[in-house]
């Protein structure tokens, strides 16, 4: 290993995502075929101990009845985890967010509800500050070469371009963009570099790249070439295909600023 000179400054973040259903962690391929990958609190604490920079908990079955369960889970997570975490899934009101932040979440992510009523972003920004409002965008590149916004976990296509929605949302007060490429999600063939780069260069707020991370070099590329501020992945961590300490060491050796 070559001698490394420690450079000061903000680091790139590695963010494991834990999809939650009925209080358990699950992760599907292309949003279907769910598999059980463990207890979210235990898994989250393990990732934190391994050097994950943040965590995202996405409640994929968020319904009104389950809201209470989610708040309880968030409370349990915040008692046990010493790094920041974001909670998303079915959030549609200031009241939802108040409950989740009140139980210790650092940030929340909104998706479909914000698209259907963009003013939600402004309301959340006013009430809680942009630093805790993450806009999640599921996007897909169509045959015309353009990236479009999809809703409802990727089931509903819109005619809105990803770039336009991201710009509007940042203007309304979104503090970060969590960008998932549906073309890449689950493929382990690498992140969507073009749209990630476009948004990173265009927006004043951080962009979290998601979907497609399968090898350590994919992370290097999304940071170096697409200028992502953070990269998110799920199953490769859950199924121990890549260990976070190994990934961080790899990035460090490739001159990517990371916390190790």
């Amino acid at each position: 290993m070559s001698e490394q000179v420690m450079k000061r400054g903000l680091t790139k973040r590695i963010i494991p995502c834990l999809d939650i259903k009925d209080g358990r962690t699950v992760k599907g391929t292309n949003f279907v075929d769910l598999r059980d990958a463990g207890d979210p609190v235990e898994l989250g604490a393990l990732y934190a101990a391994q050097g994950a920079d943040e965590l995202v908990f996405l409640d994929i079955t968020a319904t009104v009845e389950k809201r209470k369960t989610l708040a309880e889970l968030v409370n349990k997570i915040s008692h046990h985890i010493n790094i920041p975490f974001t909670v998303g899934g079915g959030i549609s009101s200031v009241e939802n967010v108040k409950e989740l932040l009140g139980n210790g979440a650092d940030k929340i992510s909104v998706n479909t509800a914000a698209f259907n009523r963009p003013q939600l972003i402004a309301e959340l920004e006013k009430e809680f500050g942009s630093q805790c409002v993450v806009l999640a965008i599921d996007t897909k590149k169509e045959e015309d070469g353009e990236w479009y916004v999809y809703l409802h976990g990727g089931r509903t296509k819109t005619n809105t371009k990803c770039v336009d929605w991201a710009k509007q949302a940042v203007g309304l007060g979104a503090g970060e963009i969590l960008l998932t490429s549906m073309n890449h999600d689950g493929t382990k063939a690498g992140f969507a570099l073009d749209i990630t780069k476009t948004l990173s260069e265009l927006l004043s707020v951080p962009v979290i790249a998601s979907g497609g991370g399968g090898k350590m070099e994919h992370f290097e590329t999304v940071f170096n070439e697409a200028q992502a501020d953070a990269a998110l992945a799920a199953s490769i961590f859950h199924f121990k295909e890549i260990a976070i300490p190994d990934l961080k060491r790899y990035l460090y050796e490739h001159q990517i600023p990371v916390r190790i």
């Binding site: 420690m6 000061r8 400054g9 903000l10 680091t11 790139k12 973040r13 934190a48 920079d53 915040s78 008692h79 046990h80 010493n82 790094i83 920041p84 932040l101 009140g102 139980n103 210790g104 650092d106 500050g129 942009s130 630093q131 805790c132 503090g175 970060e176 004043s204 707020v205 951080p206 501020d229 953070a230 916390r259």
Partner: protein, 199 residues
Amino acid sequence: MSIVIIKYNAGNIQSVLYALERIGAEATVTDDPAAIRAASKVIFPGVGEASSAMAYLKERKLDELILSLKQPVLGICLGMQLMCSYSEENDTPCLGIFEEKVLRFQQPEQGAAVKIPQIGWNNIYDLKTALFSEVKEESYCYFVHSYYAALGAHTIATTDYTKAYSAGLHRDNFYGVQFHPEKSAQVGEQILKNFINLI
């Protein structure tokens, strides 16, 4: 030993409370002046906007109360900024415990554009005082902010983002940190422990 977290309109107060629980310390969240005065340690957290937070503190005379405290006080993030003399955020006069001014990050004159707010993990260095006992130089802490306190006589920790600025401040019994020790993994827990162990 009684630790009080000052309750006001700028939280994430729960996170601080839970972080203290993780290191085995009990704390009370309150805006009751008698309880705050009687505490052995006072934590002044905060995430939010400076002018509305200052207005809230003034309305309840918590500003005078904080200034009168003699026990160790730790301001976190916005809490630290409010302990400075002035914040550029909506042109807000603050508590004036630290003379340092709070300014908004500007894009660097040279080099690549940066994201504002700064969100994520950055190094702290030139560490001074017992608040950073057993904390290594260049340790990483978690930051979320668009405004920063300039370097000055009271700086006890420095971080670089567009320029070097105060990640920590200290004067007499007053301490402040710009980062979130409650979210800064083991390093943050060590800093909270150190604060609790201050005499």
